[in-house]
């Protein structure tokens, strides 16, 4: 049973169509990346999945039950793109509040474990208002993990993090996969998605315009060979073609210094899919 199944999902805000029949599936323990320019409908999709927004049409199920239902909400953890915790609460109190609301009975041990997981073990008693934006974002991830969710919905979870913080979160996400938790990661950071996600979907104007593993999406762009007479690009050539091309060049009297197999990056695929609009 998929952790998240979205079928023909539609959402209309007045005359604007935010989602136009989106289909996607996130398997258990899968890290799924959602990419797309601003206004593509990524956040709307995530909000429908966690019951904050009502769909105009289509179905969304979480572990087999309709999104927004009590059972579905018990199965998810969610970190909003724009969220805040009361400044007067300590990190430990925030997690305690969410333990009570999610019905988690794992008490202080769970809170300690989660704070350690996000690198905030020393900040359990620190008030939210005394935390940096990055610390608050890590606390947000810890909050989303309260109650051992089966599906984690993260909307731009690393937007306020520095490179070290991003690396911590990447490691954390990989750890979640090992623990059997599925993750839907909505992010602008292509490199991050490419590094951690098993599969990716690119949304543009409310539609899925490309989907697959990062390797499936990346296409060969050719072989670049550095010779004495300059760098030559053999467009469309693949890795397997490289020995033959080198042999032909050497036979033709060229001196070969370096060979590079080029493939398109996720960024290239993304820009192509959204029509060059990187916003």
């Amino acid at each position: 049973m998929p952790a998240l199944a979205v079928r023909e999902l539609r959402k209309r805000y007045g005359k604007a169509e935010a989602l136009r029949g989106v289909d996607l599936e996130v398997a258990g323990a899968e890290l799924f990346g959602l990419l797309g320019p601003n206004g593509a409908g990524k956040s709307t999709l995530v909000k429908i999945a966690c019951g904050l927004v009502r769909a105009t049409g289509g179905t969304t199920t979480i572990c087999g039950v309709p999104a927004g239902s009590h059972e579905a909400r018990a199965a998810i953890g969610y970190l909003a793109e724009l969220f805040r915790f009361p400044g007067w609460m300590s990190a430990d109190e925030v997690l305690q509040l969410h333990q009570r609301l999610s019905g988690s009975e794992r008490g202080a041990a769970e809170r300690r474990e989660l704070l350690e997981l996000v690198g905030l073990a020393d900040a359990a008693g620190r008030r939210v208002e005394a935390m940096s934006k990055g610390m608050q974002q890590r606390l947000g991830i810890a909050q989303a993990l309260v109650g051992r969710p089966r599906l984690l919905l993260l909307d731009e979870p690393t937007s306020a993090l520095d490179p070290a913080g991003r690396r911590t979160v990447r490691g954390l996400l990989e750890g979640l996969r090992e623990r059997g938790i599925a993750v839907l990661l909505n992010s602008h950071l292509l490199s991050e998605i490419e590094l951690v996600c098993d599969r990716v979907a690119i949304l543009s104007a409310g539609e899925v315009v490309a989907a697959g593993t990062p390797a499936e999406l990346a296409r060969p762009r050719g072989v670049e060979i550095e010779t004495a007479s300059g760098t030559q690009l053999f467009e469309g050539a693949r890795r397997d073609d490289a020995p033959r091309i080198v042999r032909e060049l050497v036979a033709g009297g060229e001196e070969v210094f370096a060979v590079r197999v080029l493939s398109s990056t996720l960024e290239d695929v993304y820009l192509e899919a959204v029509g060059g609009d990187p916003s």
Binding site: E71, R73, Y78, A80, P86, H98, L101
Partner: protein
């Protein structure tokens, strides 16, 4: 049940943090001190007053100042109720505080009910405390006690709960500033309607009286306040009774059990509307 307690406590700690209670406490202490001072002055001099024939000066003074205290109690209770509920949905959603709570397996109706109960748990004892403190001050300094002791206080508390429910409903659609202004204006409209009723009675203008009555029942906190005012001089008759029923800040009008039943139904209807509207809202 534990989720209700958790959310209600969360709302109250938030209010504590925003110093809502500190402001209300300060205002209350100031009001009670001034009220005690005013009572002392009034009743020190009431023996010197030679009232027109048919008026009992002590009853008139006692009921009048206590009527004023009831208005102040209602006002302070309304301030507290509004500030505890005005930002429950829209304002908290705008600030990103609401979404992490709503996605938990609690239910939007439970969340809203818990925030209302949290406000009620504070407002009702507060209104009753101020009401009985004012009653004691008037009774001990002036040796005047209202005809009905408990019911008018309960009606004031009921009126405050009605305002809290309206503020909660408004919070589903409006940000805190707009909602605060809207609910205070509704409160003001109720008081103006009461004053218009007074003028209507004085001029014997039937239309004005009818308009005031319709408004008072449309926003029943006003009718409850009027019924409470009526209760404190229920057994006072003659010219004294007539003048007192004109009342300060709104006439004293009897609503009876029909009004009390309507107020409970109204409260439940407003809360149901808030739950339905919140359930349909995208966050």
């Amino acid at each position: 049940m534990s989720a209700v307690v958790t959310i209600a406590a969360y709302g109250l700690r938030e209010a504590l943090r925003r110093r809502v209670f500190a402001v209300v406490l300060l205002l209350t202490v100031g009001f009670l001190a001034l009220f005690w001072l005013g009572n002392s002055y009034v009743f020190d001099h009431v023996a010197d007053v030679v009232p027109p024939a048919g008026i009992d000066a002590r009853t008139f003074a006692g009921a009048f100042v206590f009527g004023l205290a009831m208005f102040a109690t209602l006002f302070l209770g309304v301030v507290l109720a509004i500030f505890l509920t005005l930002g429950v949905v829209e304002a908290d959603a705008e600030r990103g505080l609401l979404q992490p709570l709503v996605v938990r397996p609690v239910g939007r109706s439970v969340l809203l009910a818990a925030r209302f109960l949290g406000a009620a748990v504070i407002c009702v004892p507060y209104v009753l405390s101020v009401y009985f403190a004012a009653l004691l001050i008037t009774g001990l300094t002036g040796d005047w006690w209202p005809d009905r002791i408990v019911l008018p206080g309960l009606e004031l508390a009921g009126g405050v709960l009605v305002v809290a429910a309206l503020s909660l409903l408004g919070s589903v659609f409006l940000g805190s500033t707009a909602n605060g202004i809207a609910v205070f204006m509704v409160f003001g409209a109720g008081l103006v309607a009461g004053l218009l009723g007074n003028i209507g009675h004085a001029l014997n203008a039937e239309k004005l009286i009818r308009v005031a009555k319709i408004v008072a029942w449309a926003i029943p906190f006003e009718a409850l306040y009027e019924d409470g005012l009526r209760g404190i001089t229920e057994e006072t008759s003659g010219l004294t009774g007539f003048l007192l029923r004109l009342g300060p800040f709104g006439g004293a009008e009897s609503g009876g059990w029909a009004l009390r039943a309507w107020s409970v139904a109204y409260l439940l209807l407003v809360l149901a509307a808030a739950v339905i509207a919140f359930g349909r809202r995208d966050l």
